[in-house]
Symmetry: C2
Subunit: 255 residues, 2 copies
């Protein structure tokens, strides 16, 4: 008999329902069980027949295993992340749990639905800072050694990539963003634009544009995405006192 | 008198309306003028009162200037791109044209609305290949010297980034993807997974998972996104003959 259970890994986008896709709304409407980090589960409205399994941060693999067990037992499970589910979020954890877990889980109906990632939502608010080659780096050293992060920051700086820095700091990791700025200042001009984008599309959205020389890690919290431009990234004043537009030109002139 | 014109730069997502956000649909419903590369303009249904300005590829700056002129004349202009508007698409061109153009344009009501990018749509179809640090590189040397692209491929390989390769080749640029594979084979194991994802979410969607050693550029066309994993990227067989799941674990063990 075919197992009726399913597991859908969902990217909820940055926050506003206006940036959530119809296929995500449809999957949420069909789910029997909602699994995720508590603040993301809280974004999905209550309705009868939807069981909520909210968990703490930093237990991604336990959460993924729990979701697979629920699906194996016949539930239609939605695993929710903010932004895109495949970017420093739950999709990778689900496949890691799938690989290590009960072989029967492999026959489950599993899908991943993309979402508007934090970096693209933040970039759109301020112009087109990711307009040329770019990279995304998580500054969390919970899952990888700090030396790997330093190595990647250096490769990105020397390679001329715009950088989107995820998980810049938290109460448990207060120094990582400052250390990243210190490293980047040794390899990039101090005039390179830096953007702090917090809670994009949510009521307390806050966006600050500054420079690498002046970037203050205190502008970031757990909900902040930090973008670091390149020497090519440009600022364009906006009338009315708004933060300037920031864009990275698509073209690199032949030298 | 306030100019009633506006310019909204829109990411249509990979193709399916199920992956298009409500704010994008609302902006399309309000537009008087649609500006973009012809295949993207063609994705927006006809309706009375919507003027269509479809243009050829490789004229992004002309197209951006035209859109700004229409907005300055009072139109509500939607500039459409596939995927996300800020990723190798029209947002950066609009700000470049804005900076170089009529100072009066700076007072226009300009917005950028993000979309589901090709790389996240493709990644979701196949698992979570972008599950750890990653980068996006355009292989088009129309806008930058090939030497810059080589330098960035090398930085990405040595840095341990998963790569999403945009604009892998076209009739006018037939050799770039092959040259990129040749370069990457000198620095990465031949077993590294490579994904060719063409026309994701569209009726002719085609996804192939292979290895760097065996990757054949002939599997790509203009509509293909190519992803190159790292030595950490894993394959997970799926039952029923589907392509295997591909995921990049979030964690890097301490060495």
């Amino acid at each position: 008999m075919l197992n009726p259970g399913s597991l859908t890994v969902i990217g909820l986008g940055p926050g506003s329902p206006a940036q959530r896709t119809p296929e995500v709304e449809a999957a949420l409407a069909e789910a029997t069980d909602l699994v995720g980090y508590a603040p993301y589960v809280a974004r999905v409205p209550h309705r009868p027949g939807l069981y909520r399994h909210a968990s703490d941060n930093r237990v991604e693999l336990d959460r993924a295993r729990h979701a697979l067990q629920l699906a194996e037992a016949g539930a239609r499970v939605a695993v929710v992340s903010g932004g895109d589910a495949g970017v420093f979020a739950m999709a990778s954890a689900v496949f890691e749990a799938l690989e290590a877990g009960d072989p029967a889980w492999r026959a489950l109906d599993i899908r991943v639905l993309p979402g508007i990632s934090a970096m693209f939502a933040a970039a759109a608010r301020i112009g087109a800072p990711l307009g040329h080659d770019f990279c995304a780096i998580s500054l969390s050293d919970n899952l990888k050694p700090w030396e790997v992060i330093q190595h990647r920051l250096l490769a990105a700086a020397l390679g001329g990539f715009v950088m989107a820095l995820y998980n810049p700091l938290s109460r448990a990791r207060p120094w990582q963003l400052g250390a990243a700025f210190t490293l980047l200042r040794q390899h990039l001009p101090g005039t390179v634009p830096v953007i702090f984008a917090t809670a994009v599309t949510r009521p307390d959205e806050r966006i600050t544009v500054t420079t690498l020389a002046e970037a203050d890690p205190a502008l970031a919290d757990m909900r902040t995405l930090v973008m670091v431009g390149t020497a090519a990234t440009r600022l364009l004043p906006r009338p009315g006192g708004a933060a300037p537009w920031v864009y990275s030109p698509r073209s690199v002139p032949a030298s």
